[in-house]
Amino acid sequence: MEELLQQISNGLVLGSTYALLAFAVALIFGVMYVPNFALGALYMLAAYVSFYFMEWGVHYLITILIGVVIMAILAVIMEKLVFRPIESGPHAAGFIAALGLFVLLENAAFLGLGAEYRIIRTSYVQMPLEIGPIKLTFQRLLVLMAGTGLSIGAYFFLLKSKIGKEIRAVSQNREAAALIGIDIHWVNYVAFAISGILAAASGALVGPLALVNASMGMMPITKAFVVVVLGGMGSLPGAIAGGFILGLVESLGAGYLSSAYKDCFAFGVLVIVLMIRPTGLFGAKELRE
């Protein structure tokens, strides 16, 4: 029982980071119909930002803020330079461009920042915490709270704010939104910025828990895609819920089934689901209704 609770708590912590990343993917997908793989690179770069700024004496929490700002800017630049020009073409082009950006950034980081694994040492990691039978570190608690808070916060922001409503309108029907006077370009910028913020937060929060290296973004972003497909492409609550569920599945699976293959669970689930429901669990049904 203790074991179970421990795994669950680990799963929730992990899940909160997946939720952030999946939300970011779902947001861009809703607005531009592009699965943006490049967010995985922003995730990774944010962790590096935390590492380097901490080396220069900045407090960990501040480095998260810095990383978030930098990645938001990078995301907006990506939108303007890469995704906007190819928007009018086939959708596949966006996907491929995102892949290209990811590979580019991942390998540039590899070359520029070195292949060694980096460790982010925050005092939080050392601070143990016990809530009942569950052993945590403060860092994990921080990740859980920040991750949950940010994703739910982002969701409500999109629900209530003016720009949020515009973003949702564009996600539903781009042409109609343009016709009623919504500034599509601005919506794109904001959506990308928010995605950049969430992806960066996810990476910076995970940083101290994992080993920071150039390829740390590949698996998480791929899993974020899985979550988004399962939760319904473009569905924001689906992405959040799905992220937590995936975290739990992985944690429980690693604990009880096999730790070496833990990455496979997510992918295996996806393949099975696509077999049964080709448009995802909550996605719109196929054209033949």
């Binding site: 997908f29 119909y33 699965p35 890469v82 020009p85 190819i86 073409g89 086939p90 959708h91 596949a92 082009a93 996907f95 491929i96 461009a97 892949l99 290209g100 950006l101 990811f102 590979v103 580019l104 991942e106 390998n107 540039a108 590899f110 070359l111 292949a115 590949m218 698996m219 791929t222 895609f225 899985v226 497909v229 492409m233 070496a260 293959y261 990455d263 496979c264 997510a266 992918f267 295996g268 996806l270 393949v271 696509l274 077999m275 080709p278 448009t279 995802g280 196929e286 054209l287």
Partner: protein
């Protein structure tokens, strides 16, 4: 009006054929090996072209089938003592069966779902190969024997192996060419252009996507078997997402849907870094840059763009 036998395209193709046939005599050592290795990627490009070029479905798991083919062949040799050729044939067939089975659920999906599904399949395959150490030897599988010779010709070393690869390339070109100008090819192209319209015009879209996907997978597996026979030691990197990405980038840069693109894209992206002595790590950056430039400015790929904007030149491009 009788069709001219020696149209410009045929002439160019013929010249290229002669050139590539004579490569082992024109180049030696390092350059020969580089060109030969490039041919593996040509095989991968030509096979990926069936599913991503003709049928228009982006597949990011092509490396996985390459890896499955290599490991199937290699494992049969190493674990059961088979000689190369039977293992190679069996390995190819196994890969074909796997790609068919995997394809069945995937072809019911569309667009981004298909691509993400293939991405995940590729991830699963490379994880399994890496982790199932007792079966696959983990980070590397050694001890694969090379193909037995045909008479006095032995297939160790690129000088002779080149012709094995060359023959395979010719086969793949033949398949691409025959398919493109046929009912099957037209069905695939229709699916690429507008899948729903294709279905309303009588094309059984799922079947044809499955056909393209499985044949492409089988051909990738065949190339994998040849790779195993040449390198004699293989590693899970063959099936990695990065490798699948590389293959996809090569085809897109060359020009999806065109035969010359499927040949010259891989050759360009493989040989350029090779001859410039670019380090491994830098290559993926180059591929990413090329890919982005092509997507932004020449979405049809280099060959595709040439054919489209310069119809006069297009007569010369096979």
């Amino acid at each position: 009006m009788a069709k001219k036998v020696f149209s410009k395209k045929v002439l160019v193709a013929f010249i290229l054929f002669i050139f590539f046939a004579l490569v082992p005599f024109l180049f030696k050592g390092y350059y020969l090996t580089a060109l030969g290795m490039g041919l593996f990627y040509v095989l991968l490009g030509l096979s990926l072209n069936l599913v991503t070029g003709f049928a228009g479905s982006i597949s990011i798991c092509h490396g996985a089938f390459y890896g499955i083919g290599a490991y199937a062949c290699g494992l049969l040799i190493v674990k059961t003592g088979m000689t190369f050729w039977p293992a190679f044939v069996l390995g190819t067939v196994i890969t074909g069966i796997i790609s068919f089975l995997v394809g069945i659920p995937f072809v019911r999906t569309k667009g981004p779902y298909f691509a993400i599904g293939t991405l995940c399949f590729g991830a699963i395959v490379s994880l399994i190969i890496l982790n199932w150490v007792s079966l696959t030897g983990g980070i590397s599988l050694r001890g694969i024997t090379s193909p037995g010779g045909l008479g006095i010709v032995k297939f160790k070393g690129m000088t002779n192996y080149y012709y094995l690869l060359f023959a395979a390339v010719l086969l793949y070109i033949y398949i691409n060419h025959k398919l493109r100008n046929s009912r099957v090819g037209r069905a695939l192209i229709a699916i690429r252009e507008d899948e729903e319209l294709a279905e309303c015009t009588g094309v059984n879209t799922r079947w044809y996507k499955l056909l393209a996907f499985s044949v492409a997978g089988l051909l990738a597996g065949l190339a994998g078997g040849l790779y195993a026979g040449y390198m004699r030691a293989i590693d899970p990197g063959l099936a990695s997402i990065g490798h699948s990405f590389t293959i996809l980038a090569m085809l897109i840069v060359g020009g999806t849907g065109t035969i010359s693109g499927a040949i010259f894209g891989p050759l360009l992206l493989w040989l350029l870094p090779e001859f410039l002595m670019v380090a491994e790590d830098f290559r993926l950056i180059i591929y990413g840059v090329f890919l982005l430039l092509v997507i932004l400015f020449m979405p049809r790929g280099i060959a595709g763009q040439l054919k489209y904007s310069l119809p006069n030149i297009s007569k010369w491009i096979p």
